[in-house]
Symmetry: none
Subunit: 225 residues, 2 copies
């Protein structure tokens, strides 16, 4: 997830960069409007954070340049100018959010998440070992390989991932996936665990679904023997 910060207050820019990098973003910084434009127009970023008042080119004009080039990247305006007119100008120039300095770190992060979520570039997933279940597409992903899970496979896998290393009885899985009052039997769970084990193996996952007699299932990371 690549973020470009365009901000002339070096101190603020750098602390922002540090903070966002800690959160796992890939951050680059430009210290004036013109070089900011140069970077932004590369079109490689998932989010732009722009200051308004900057040397050489202000944030509004930079936003307009970006939009004129038809780049759809979300833009977060970050500025000390709190006036109503400023906010309106910012939004009309093509910004997607207008945040006023001084701002709280958690609020900034919430904004960033909201903007990335909207772009669909934020994935929500459950992970265990080297494997992730993408909750929006129902794909089981391990490094570069992935398989699609059917609806029931997905439900069972999600239960297991939510429980993690904790144990889950077949009864509970049955109730959560097939419903409390269905007439499904425990063999259904066994069959689906079988399906899942095959698919996990097919993408080279190190997740093992471990059975414990009379108790149920739980996940483990396979030991390299």
């Amino acid at each position: 997830m690549r973020i470009l910060i365009v901000e002339d207050e070096k101190l603020l820019a750098d602390s922002l960069q540090t903070m966002l990098e800690k959160k796992g973003f890939d951050v680059e910084v430009a210290y004036d409007g013109e070089s900011g434009e140069e970077y932004a127009l590369l079109g490689v970023y998932d989010l732009l954070i722009l200051d308004v008042m900057m040397p050489k080119m202000n944030g509004y004009d930079l936003a307009r340049q970006v939009r004129a080039k038809r780049l759809g990247v979300p833009i977060l305006m970050l500025t000390a100018r709190a006036g109503l007119e400023d906010r309106i100008e910012g939004l009309n120039a093509g910004a997607d959010y207008y945040l006023t300095k001084p701002f709280d770190t958690r609020e900034l992060l919430a904004c960033i998440n909201a903007l990335l979520r909207r772009q669909g570039s934020q994935v929500d997933e459950l992970t265990f070992g080297n494997t992730a279940l993408d909750l929006s597409t129902g794909m089981l992903v391990c490094q570069s390989r992935s398989v699609r899970l059917s609806a029931k496979e997905f439900d069972v896998m999600r239960c297991l991932l939510q429980a993690g290393q904790r144990n889950l009885s077949k009864e509970v899985i049955l109730a959560r996936v097939w419903g409390y009052d269905s007439n499904a039997v425990e063999n259904h769970v066994e069959v689906y665990v079988g399906f899942l084990r095959k698919k996990l193996a097919s993408i080279g996952s190190n997740i093992r679904i471990e059975a414990i007699r009379k108790l149920g299932y739980h996940l483990e990371v396979a030991q390299p023997c």
Copy 2:
């Protein structure tokens, strides 16, 4: 462009409605959280404007419900609660913008425009892969070749393009194209997806309309194998 306002202060709600209708939007209003939820989950709106403090269900929970149902509709939170924690909760609940009362009409409009712009609702062309849908002529264009889409084909294609790589359930397509109260059935969507696939192929588009069982459809760029 359909907007749903969920707001219990009748006076405010109605003046908002009037104002937005003057601007050419198609506006509906719900006066409490529960009926708001009912409307919102129909999936037919292009924007939700939610108050936070409401009888029966608050705006945060409503936003969470909408997101839980995987609806990507933009949400604008409109509220008197100006606190930092409130803003953060709102954004994390799934809102896209947090505007504090009292607000200026022009600012609200700028926000609405920003949100709709992001959805691609105000451009005159939607593109994906090597193919574009011209919204003014209803032509599907791929390089030099193009076909005209019928009205329904156009509506379905627009939904799909707006969602892009994100998934769209048949239910939502049905609601957006045929209306939530029509007696259209899911096979209609299947038939139209069939029509669109034929037309896409006929102009050499690299867009594939991918079906995912139980989930719906989404677009992909066909890989050159």
